[in-house]
């Protein structure tokens, strides 16, 4: 086990290095002038000044020198200040949001995290439940119903589903509006009396004992969470169903049934623990997928998280900003995959051998 963990951890720096290299290569598509947004706030119009900037930050130097500077930053020869350097947390300056990218990320991330965290429990629990129902009733009516539910969900583009939800539950009734908070609630949250502990509105509202704001925030989250959940249910239930079917065909299940155990015990205690193994891998992917897959959902529901900022930046060709988001998500993805792999090896000893 220790051996496996070490082998797996050794890969991490290499993967992270690879991620940075690929992103840096994508940056090379930009002209040196555009790349100067990595180091300066305003890109000047004057050509002479521009040339000075390109010289000053070494944007005309060999590519490996530039890569190194991009990683650790460079010293501004005029002021002696250290600027840039993604490892220092300086991701450049966002043209579309008119602020440093790192600040934008820090400000927007809690909203996305809040939505993803709210969605993750219903997604995984609901998906597993449906998958098990399908497998247990194999080839009966319920199974077909679950399969159709899954395949339709799998075919529904998230933005179409989101728009249809909005049409059904917002237009006309006004029950579940888009956005993050109503105007009045937003004013309360912005006011100095309201303490921002986590920047996740639902949590903060509870900590501030403001039930009305909590409910308002929840009301805005219902539809995005449902649309996220439906699409991921489709995937989770497919994996659960097929893996449960496989497990239920094993000899030890027949043995358990032959012993006269009730079907409930056979399924819950004998089949489920093994049948859910592949779902663990998927669950890890789900958390990451929810974090990075919110781009479209946030845009549809006008929800101010990192996804919407990224979509906005991408449609305005603000590459510096989007690349920073890719970098951020890529790092999360690499780390999360390692955690999932190790967890998986822990619960399924067969994996460690390979």
């Amino acid at each position: 086990m220790v051996n496996y963990i070490i082998r797996r951890l050794i890969m991490v720096p290499f993967l992270l290095f690879g991620v940075t290299v690929l992103i840096f290569l994508m940056l090379q598509f930009l002209s040196p002038v555009e790349r100067s947004a990595l180091y300066v706030r305003e890109i000047p119009k004057n050509e002479l000044v521009l040339e000075g900037i390109i010289k000053r930050y070494g944007l005309d130097q060999p590519i490996y020198v530039q890569y190194w500077k991009w990683l650790v930053g460079t010293t501004d020869p005029r002021t002696g200040e250290r600027v840039g350097g993604i490892l220092r947390g300086d991701l450049g300056y966002s043209r579309t949001a008119s602020q440093p990218v790192a600040e934008l990320l820090a400000r927007r991330f809690p909203a996305t995290l809040e939505m993803a965290l709210l969605a993750v429990v219903p997604v995984i629990a609901g998906g597993i439940f449906l998958g098990v129902v399908g497998a247990v009733n194999h080839n009966k009516f319920l199974d077909h119903a679950v399969r159709i539910f899954g395949i339709v969900g799998w075919s529904f583009p998230d933005f179409v589903f989101g728009l249809l939800l909005l049409m059904a539950f917002y237009v006309g009734t006004g029950w579940f509006p888009p956005g993050r908070l109503s105007d009045w609630a937003n004013q309360v949250v912005m006011s100095p009396e309201f303490h921002n502990y986590t920047s996740m509105v639902t949590v903060d509202a509870l900590l501030n004992l403001r039930l009305d704001i909590f409910l308002d925030a929840l009301r805005h989250l219902v539809l995005p969470v449902i649309s996220l959940a439906y699409l991921w249910w489709a995937l989770t239930l497919r994996v659960t169903r097929s893996s449960m079917l496989e497990t239920l065909r094993q000899d030890y299940i027949t043995t358990a049934r032959a012993k006269g155990l009730s079907e409930r015990v056979v399924i819950n205690q004998h089949a489920l623990p093994n049948g859910l193994l592949p779902v663990v891998t998927l669950a890890g992917g789900t958390v990451v997928g929810l974090l990075s897959g919110v781009v479209i959902i946030e845009t549809v529901f006008n929800y101010p998280g990192i996804g919407m900022a990224a979509a906005n930046a991408a449609s305005n060709l603000d590459v510096i900003t989007v690349l920073a988001f890719v970098l951020f998500n890529g790092f999360i993805l690499v780390i999360a995959n390692v955690i999932v792999d190790i967890l998986y090896a822990y619960i399924d000893p067969r994996v460690r051998l390979d």
Partner: protein
Amino acid sequence: MTTQEVALPQLRRRAPGWFERWVGHDVYRTLKGLITNPISVIGLVLLAFFIFVAAAAPILAPYPPGTSPSRIPRDGFGAVPKPPGTEWKTRQPPLPFWWKAVTGKDKWVHLMGTASGQWDIYYGVVWGTRTALLAGLIITACGFIIGCVIGAVSAFYGGWVDMVLMRITDLFQAFPFLLTAMTLSAVLTPKLGKGLLPPAIALIMFSWMGFARLLRSDILSLREREYVLAARVIGVQDTRIMFRHILPNAIFPTLVLASMRIGSYAITFAGLSFLGIGAEVGYPDWGQLLSFARNWMTQLGDYWYIVVFPGVALVLFVLSWNLVGDALRDVLDPRLQGSR
């Protein structure tokens, strides 16, 4: 020396018909599985419908001669969408020949209404079928080819080549798909101009990993089989073993995966144009049409047709591929055969 005729027991229930002999037993079995499974029949019918619409687009929604179908015709420039059935006022495109026979009227109307900017939704939906079909097929085909080359090379050479190629595959998988595709197309747009090419290239760049992994693992398991060993023993060349003995058998699961991916790449492609990345405003593309709805969020009750027509088209399109792919997987996966 005389040989004695031995009556072999009849192994086959019937002799193969001309069609089965022509396409081969495996393909015949697959096709038969597809047309006897009700789920895949629904999928195939839907698919046939979309292919028909894409092929017949110039008849269903004709363009004035001399104009290119890369822009949806628009009826003026007003911001407020118009409901289905509104009469076409300005710059009316030519009437299709079937129009008068079917409806008895001689005025072209907006069959599915107009979006803001007076883009005709019917034209967008009809010609968008071409875009969706092309995008799904081309992206999947390119990803499939790249993936197959990398997977086959990796499995064939093994050793450090395999190691390096698989680590590169890992690396590409370490990227969040949609976000990276968005970025790459944003990066490519100034070089290639706004259009379908940047998002297509971006999606292809990050679509080959699944194919590569699947093909590699299938080749690796086939390589150990007796018939390959037998071929090697009688001295068949390596490349011949690879292309004649292993690849034709190993490629099927990858092909199934490809058929199941077409729909999801069409979704992603439409998603990118929904976000305003890729096709220029006015290009007939379902995602583009749906993005018009974003400006009318609070009045979608009145302007339902902006969402419903392109939305339903997109859902059915993806559904048709997924149904066919799902059935194909069931037919081709021998492990599932006993359980159905």
